[in-house]
Amino acid sequence: MALFLEFVIAGLLCIGLFAILGLVLVLMERKVSAYMQIRLGPNRVGPKGALQTLADTLKLLSKEGLTPRGADRFLFNLAPFVAMIGTMLLLAPIPFAKGFQLWDINIGVLYISAVSSLAVISILLAGWASNNKYSLLGAMRSGAQIVSYELSAGLSIIAIVVLTGSLSISDIIASQADGWWIFKGHLPVWIAFVTFIIAVTAETNRAPFDLAEAESELTAGFHTEYSGMKFALFFLAEYINIFIVCAIGAILFFGGWMPFHIGNWEGFNRIMDYIPSSVWFFGKTFFLIFVIMWFRWTFPRLRIDQLLNLEWKYLLPISMVNVLLITLVAILGWHF
């Protein structure tokens, strides 16, 4: 009974976190884009527009969820839930603070890369079941894109796994107690980090790799036919996905909740320790999210063939060589 209660509480907290994160991230995106575009952004609902996304959610909740005629009703309605469930599963092994982790699985990194590839199924389902040509094209693009970019994302994760020697997320964080990998690992880790950021931007279908949606070409891509809450679920899943990949980036390269330490500066290190570990974790994650948003509001979109070229001709060879380099660094113990 107690176990059941624990499950319920954890589940409710997860859903609560989802809702809050979605609201915050959408607001953040709108504010970031507004300032970059010399605009003010939402500023009418609540103080400085803070409640704007809440109002939008209410609007989406009260809208009619249409199912187009000729659509595969079951798959059409299933797709947003698959997207949501896929993202929810990813939340399990992420440590939000010191000792605050739902499930410390010993193959955490493997679990994450396995589950994150479920996202493409929901997009394919949505695109196929909508009975809309734009949706279908968007889904096909997304399939090609996610399948390719998973390779270099996986390889850059492997770089850190090689350095740490463990697949467990808590071990990876623990290995960065004396310094984050981005500082300890020299150039190869830098290369791995850049490939990781590019690959996850593509994997989450964010601009400049948002070909699955590409509003100037395919109106809205795979979710053209979705409205109301079903659309909101896709929207939410997209933002939570960004949060999760950025959290993983923070864990792998910036030490997760681990505070910033410099060698043997005892006083400085103690001050850093004083800042709560959850602040460290969310600070790093939101910094990475900001970088990904920065990409979106600066760059034009790639074309589908250029997108695949970038992966197969540049990212993949580079990250393969990079894994070799990392292995060399790890064997010879060149890192600090």
């Binding site: 970059m36 010399i38 605009r39 003010l40 600066t298």
Partner: protein, 156 residues
């Protein structure tokens, strides 16, 4: 493609992208560059030539300058203006044509200013108002001369 061009391609690409990010980053941190005007609270002053709608100015004695010559009606490309005249007997006892009602269809008007240019007595002019939306189309049909108004002295 040699290895050298391969890598120089990568570096020049990254450099050009970083330059763009520097520009958007600049605007992200410099909030005084924001150009948004918050409309209902702040209404920017409109230049005096702005063409919002046709009005007929009246002086303090409720007199206008329109003689009812229909030059504006003829000049209008859309049939926006309808002038109804009446016969009036002036002080000298002579019969004379005078303005009865000046009907202005704001819903047909394209603000082309041709009526203002055509008017020989400068009886009508453009106003700077622009918030014309109403719920009933009929309220856009306006009578420009005020009730009981008459022609100013000395205007032929």
């Amino acid at each position: 493609m040699t290895l050298k061009t391969y890598f120089s391609n990568i570096f020049s690409t990254i450099r050009s992208l970083l330059k763009g990010m520097r520009r958007t980053g600049y605007y992200f941190t410099h909030h005084k560059e924001i150009i948004t005007q918050q409309y209902p609270e702040y209404k920017p002053p409109l230049p005096e030539r702005f063409r919002g709608e046709v009005v007929m100015p009246h002086n303090a004695d409720n007199e206008h300058k329109c003689t009812g010559c229909t030059a504006c009606e003829l000049a209008c490309p859309n049939g926006t203006i309808k002038i109804v005249t009446k016969q009036e007997i002036n002080a000298a006892g002579k019969k004379k044509k005078a303005l009865d009602t000046f009907v202005y269809h704001l819903e047909l008007c394209t603000m082309c200013n041709l009526c203002i240019v055509a008017c020989p007595t400068d009886a009508i002019e453009m106003a700077q108002s622009f918030e014309h939306s109403v719920f009933d189309r009929n309220s856009l049909i306006k009578t420009l001369n005020e009730p009981g108004s008459k022609l100013e002295e000395g205007i032929e």
